[in-house]
Symmetry: C2
């Protein structure tokens, strides 16, 4: 009989009591991690050394101890936490990764153990139902007709952008899905217009979809690093004259580099004039919609065709949790088409009507919405609005501080929680400015107290802070400025 095959190893690994012990080991460490508000940046380890440390933690079959080696697990978790980006520390100002609301991590723990894939209603009923609820909750801030819009979840902003562009491509070139490239041939070549600061995933999408990265039409930016609406039309006209058929316009709600918000209402006019699909990469900035105060930054959002929104950025849940909204639900069906009898039932019923496998890239998909919905169910909009408003205000205050320093320069007025600036002491020569910022960034990282990033603005490197952690205050930012000055004196 097969059941006799089950060895002690399997019994141990699936033992509920051991599961509790393992979880307690981990929980005590995570609790300490969440409570630790010390100022710390990054401890960058030589990969070869870290590799040896990791190898040393691996059991060889021969010496696997019984009972379970709880010490080994503890050592693994300690090493994992210690060598990562410290998103919960006030020293963390470097990237768009979120210091998650701890409860979201707890719900994600449930998802990891119960393992309900959510592309199909029957496999994860609650995730599929609350996906619809969250769609309605968030659409209150967008303002589409509740009966005709659609939302799907997917694994990251890059995939959401790709999915939307796929839907746009298939709408503009209906034969391309089945017959391929030949359908993209015509009097003019397909092309996508983007703001010059658009996320790299959009240009990539053109490469992936057979449109070609060279067919990206880059629209110039204005002084605020938004798409320059006045200059957009002539550039689009020129593209047409050069034999391009622009079918889609991608705007950003919160560019990655400086957090600029394109003027969606004005771009929507252009899109209507030219019958372009208007997609908004709101991976970073769409979350401002949940704040009554900050919502006007996305004026015109109700007139766009699609919107990518990373909940794992400014809605503070574990990555990935990306929402892709379509103004017209029918358009969401256009991204993919296929048949597969083992997953797609031939006839829809009340259950399969909630399936999303035909609308997203993933077949097996994590029930990512559960973290967001649970926070929303328990804390409501207020938690998110308060944190986002705090972070944006903090960034304004940090900007005001930089403005006051004679040896620093600002490079833009922050619209959200991202600010780029440069350290330019008077002895610094113009030609060295860019390399100096990179060196400063590296020294700050090496210093271990703060984690900041760098980005090129107008072709010249700048320092960049992204305020994702409400434990950060202006005092911490002042400390950072002090560290930058100190780092600038190192040679």
């Amino acid at each position: 009989m097969t059941e006799s095959l089950q060895s002690g190893l399997l019994v141990e690994a699936f033992d509920a009591q051991l599961f509790r012990e393992n979880a307690e080991t981990v929980l005590s460490r995570l609790e300490k991690h969440v409570a630790d508000l010390s100022i710390r940046g990054l401890e960058l380890t030589d990969p070869a050394r870290l590799r040896r440390a990791a190898r040393a933690l691996m059991t060889t079959e021969r010496d696997r101890p019984a009972p379970f080696d709880e010490e080994r697990l503890a050592a693994i978790v300690d090493l994992y936490i210690k060598t990562g980006i410290q998103v919960h520390s006030p020293g963390y100002m470097g990237r768009q990764f979120s210091g998650v609301v701890p409860l979201a991590g707890v719900i994600d723990f449930v998802s990891s153990v119960v393992n309900q894939p959510s592309s199909f209603y029957e496999a994860g009923q609650l995730p599929n139902v609350v996906e619809r609820i969250m769609a309605d909750e968030l659409n209150r801030f967008i303002g589409w007709d509740p009966g005709t819009f659609a939302m799907i979840t997917t694994s990251g902003g890059s995939l959401a952008n790709l999915t939307a562009l796929l839907a746009a491509r298939n709408r503009a070139f209906p034969g391309v899905w089945a017959r391929g490239s030949s359908e993209l041939e015509g009097p003019a070549r397909p092309a996508i217009a983007v703001g010059d600061d658009v996320h790299y995933s959009v240009a990539r999408a053109a490469g992936i979809l057979g449109i070609g990265e060279d067919r990206i039409v880059r629209l110039p930016l204005d002084a605020a690093r938004r798409i320059d609406v006045a200059r957009a039309r002539p550039v689009l006209d020129a593209a047409e004259r050069q034999g391009l058929n622009v079918f889609c316009l991608v705007a950003s709600a919160g560019t990655t580099s400086v957090g600029a918000f394109d003027q969606l209402d004005e771009l929507a006019v252009i899109a209507r004039e030219r019958d372009l699909w208007l997609h908004v990469d709101g991976a970073h900035g769409a979350s401002l919609l949940v704040s009554d105060k900050l919502r006007p930054k996305l004026r015109g959002i109700d007139q766009v065709d699609s919107l990518a929104w990373d909940a794992h950025k400014m809605l503070f849940v574990p990555a990935p949790c990306t929402l892709l909204f379509y103004r017209d639900a029918k358009a969401s069906l256009g991204a993919f088409r296929q048949t597969a009898s083992y997953v797609f039932d031939e006839q829809q019923n009340i259950y399969t009507a909630l399936d999303s496998g035909d609308k997203n890239f993933e077949c097996t998909k994590r029930p990512m919405i559960m973290t967001l919905w649970t926070l929303w169910a328990i804390y409501g909009q207020a938690l998110f609005a308060e944190k986002i408003e705090y972070l944006c205000q903090l960034t304004q205050d940090a900007y005001a501080l930089v403005e006051k320093q004679p040896d620093f320069e600002t490079v833009h007025v922050p619209e959200a929680n991202i600010m780029c600036f440069r350290y330019r002491p008077d002895w610094l020569e113009e030609k060295d400015v860019a390399a100096f910022q990179v060196a400063i960034r590296d020294r700050i990282k090496g210093g271990g107290n703060f984690f900041i990033s760098k980005v090129d603005v107008d072709g010249v490197a700048a320092l960049r802070v992204v305020m994702m952690n409400h434990q950060v205050t202006t005092e911490h930012f002042q400390m950072l400025l002090g560290e930058i000055r100190k780092a600038g004196q190192e040679k």
Copy 2:
């Protein structure tokens, strides 16, 4: 000062003590869930009713109670667990979703709280290092040159297949990334050859990449539902005569429908003859590589160009955790090309050499490897090999049982842990066979004890079991046969 903006809501939501209480609430429920070995299938709920239940659990801002409402959280988790697929129950035989090793869920909990995105070394150092370790560990079973192969992780098998096909397309048509469709034009149209039972994501990939779903060349299957090698060459010849340029051949190691393994060694000969990229969709079956006994099913794996392998299927970790292997590391760089100063450093150093953002779809990527590596570090290969061997043996035993029943028919000899069969009592008319299987599947689902699936085999619906849970024994399968007979008598 900005710090005064922090309200009680944020303080509460990030409180470490509350985090512990929330986690304890959840843990006690998960412990019970893991320990519950009762036989249960699916409790399918009317979505409208479930939606009302979920809505009832949501706080309105006005009445949000203080302190934290632990009861509400408990009710959410209870509803979540109860309405999902019961992967830990012996009644679960329906899909390829894994009943995860509980420790993997515990490690995933760490990932959810520390939130280290792993596309970049600096953000998640340990995940990036152990990704290399796991690549080496698993390559022991593949057998490539340790110095020149590559492995990336990505969010699901569909994406892994798409990534590999993208690399294959770009290798065959070097100009397509930049210049798009026009580069796919030539004397012959690009096409992809697949086994007729290939996963739907492969045909989809052709639609996505601008190749066209119609350019999928379907190779006929043999009696074991593998690609029929003898008939493959003539079909490929015919495709060429019809003006197609087949550049890639996709084989399956464990088809989704019946778990058939294509003969990789023989297909590799064909691929070499015609300079085709040979990709293997091993999402389901690549895990057999870790068993010394079952590894021969994948004979020839060392001669393929790329392999997609879902660890969230038969390596029993939470979804998603997909591994994509390339025989030639250089090929892995060909899938995407872009520049973006804020994420890709211009000059590689020992740290950025481990970055994977330029090789996978995701910019923000979950450190999915941590669950697999931790299990491997603590339990080694043995845990996986034992469980997989048990599941495959169980499926053989179930097959032997079905063979003995006069009123059932088998439709293939199971090669792994998937078996399709039909219930055909003597009174059943030929024309009703297909509809009857679907009705049986639905009644079994409705009965609430077992969860099985259905799939079309040779165009006719069949019942399908996938043995993913080592708590299932032949006794359980016999009970299932009894339930099927009972369900067949309902009218």
